[in-house]
Symmetry: C2
Subunit: 350 residues, 2 copies
């Protein structure tokens, strides 16, 4: 049994965390503690058949808390994570604040669960949503064939940017659908004509090669996460990742096309063998009744599902050491809230 606190319980990920703590029958010691800024304190959030009051975050609020799940952005985590840990809670942090800290393990529950045990700061980091989904498929392939290179190209849902991302997509969609003719004759006018705040440009009926902020070498921080977090999670400091992160007009569900190259030669059959035995993974890559290969996962089809889905498993046409595959997962679940709760379960099992 554990006393659990949630920091950021009202957000898109926090909402899933609340649901998962309930539906997974997490062995809670009493009701969960919902913590927020002074501004939200005093409001209530649904919990089982009732409501639980949101309390103002403070050092004392963490007294008696065994596990604190943080999903309220990097600044909140940097300020309050160490305080919560000092008060005795194991912090599972969904932000990027501590992910590359050498004293903080970065854990995907199916991939490197043992790493969660070494946490000198009392903090365990939850990986970036895109990297997380990809790692569930990359790990078994790495174990079988020794991963050396990865060209990773993403299709990331608006929901990856939280509730405001979803709201912005839906509002723009309604607005732009009223004049579909403009979408083909003068897209630049359509793009300029809608309000974009969460995203840098219109996301409805559009695709943005821009997730996060532009940083070193003209890659975005989201792209650098694919490089650095993959290396840390797989314990492969020399892994070469060529990342491109792209936002698509999807509510929930991230997809990644990964061209993976290995030290050993790889075949589709051997890859299927490795993937079939991996935990947390469902293969949707088959042949339908007419013999047409139509089974492949989609972001929309992944929404609300716990598993990572993998399909379009193809040997590279020219390189016997490379494989193309299509990996899909619910960015709010396995990509965020579910993995955080699974880490909490690992801690509880110790």
């Amino acid at each position: 049994m554990a006393k659990v606190a949630l920091v950021g319980a009202t957000g898109a990920v926090g909402r899933e965390m609340r649901r998962l703590l309930d539906t997974r029958d997490f062995p809670l010691d009493g009701e969960p503690v919902f913590l927020a800024s002074e501004r939200s304190a005093g409001t209530t959030l649904p919990w089982k058949d009732g409501e639980v009051e949101v309390r103002a975050i403070s050092p004392e609020a963490f007294d008696g808390v065994d596990i604190a799940l943080f999903s309220a952005g990097g600044a909140r985590s940097r300020e309050w994570g160490p305080i919560a840990a000092e008060r005795g809670a194991v912090v599972v942090d969904n932000s990027s604040a501590f992910r590359m800290d050498e004293q903080v393990p970065l854990v995907v529950s199916e991939v490197n669960p043992d790493a969660a045990r070494q946490r000198p700061k009392g903090i365990i980091a939850n990986p970036n949503c895109t990297t997380m989904v990809l790692m569930v498929a990359a790990k078994p392939l790495h174990e079988a064939f020794a991963l050396t290179d990865m060209v990773a190209t993403s299709y990331q849902a608006a929901g990856g940017a939280g509730q405001s991302g979803i709201a912005e997509l839906l509002a723009q969609t309604t607005e732009l659908a009223e004049n579909p003719e403009l979408l083909r004759t003068d897209g630049a006018a359509a793009e300029a004509g809608v309000a974009a705040e969460t995203f840098s440009k219109a996301i409805a009926f559009n695709v943005l090669a821009h997730c996060g902020s532009f940083t070193d070498a003209r890659y975005t921080d989201e792209e650098w996460k694919l490089v650095n977090e993959s290396r840390k999670i797989l314990d492969l400091p020399a892994l070469r990742v060529s990342p491109t992160c792209v936002r698509v007009p999807v509510v929930v569900g991230h997809a990644i096309n990964a061209r993976m190259s290995f030290a050993d030669p790889v075949s589709r059959e051997a890859a299927l063998d490795a993937l079939q035995q991996a935990p947390g993974l469902v293969i949707e890559d088959g042949v339908d009744a007419e013999g047409e290969t139509l089974a492949y996962p989609t972001p929309l089809g992944s929404a609300g599902r716990d598993e990572v889905l993998v399909g379009r498993i193809r040997e590279d046409l020219f390189d016997p050491h490379s494989l193309n595959l299509w990996v899909v997962g619910d960015n709010l679940l396995k990509g965020a809230a579910l993995n955080a709760v699974q880490i909490a379960e690992l801690v509880l099992d110790e």
Copy 2:
């Protein structure tokens, strides 16, 4: 001056061809001839301030025609293309019927215009929309650094599947937007709940790793086009392409992320130099007033534009011979109708 016939004038590409013949002041000999099946014959289509009657296709209908633009699918092209050529017309064919025929040149007007002159069958093929857009950026980089490998991952608009693709996207969007909650809690139910005919699954609020039909080695024919057409257009029979074609919920505008590898080392600056001098290309890859790198092209922003747009030009993080770039173009214009009309202009200039 040329007498021009249009086969498939009512389709999404045909509509753009009609507009371009008018707005580009193509030196037409009289009104264009609109040809269709018996079923559509007798209807009229707008032309300048008036209307032009659609005539039934027949061998005699091509008599006196100098250039016949075909955009009515492969079967129609296979049946009527050779007949039109026999009657003396130069056929510019937008279907895939003749693209890989060794006696038919495959031409992107800025990339290999001279190839259009050798046409022993009287037929010139217009490339696949995705390949076409990509080639405009690939050619100058190949000339500068010698292209050897390409990992090409696409974001293809629903409009690439014609009017019915656009209609299906818009109809599903309206339907699914009514219940956004389902899109995050049970996407599989949302996906199964809408009618999908043009696409194999719901395209609204979704992404489909499936364009065209599945064929050899579990790649789709659309993916094979990226391999085979790139090789033919660039005259690089040994080019290694690793293709993944994906449909996205965009009305018009294709995007491709390409990781290109070259025999010579490549830098961003040298790549910019090569791209800046290339015809038909606009570079959107800059820094905004706040110093943030925000200029990058989008599919929506490309809709209605003649040029191919390129951005996110990044040196690979680990391989000095590789480059990542983001290439975008209007699939109905440069990706189809515009290039066909440009080929017709090349023929006329001979």
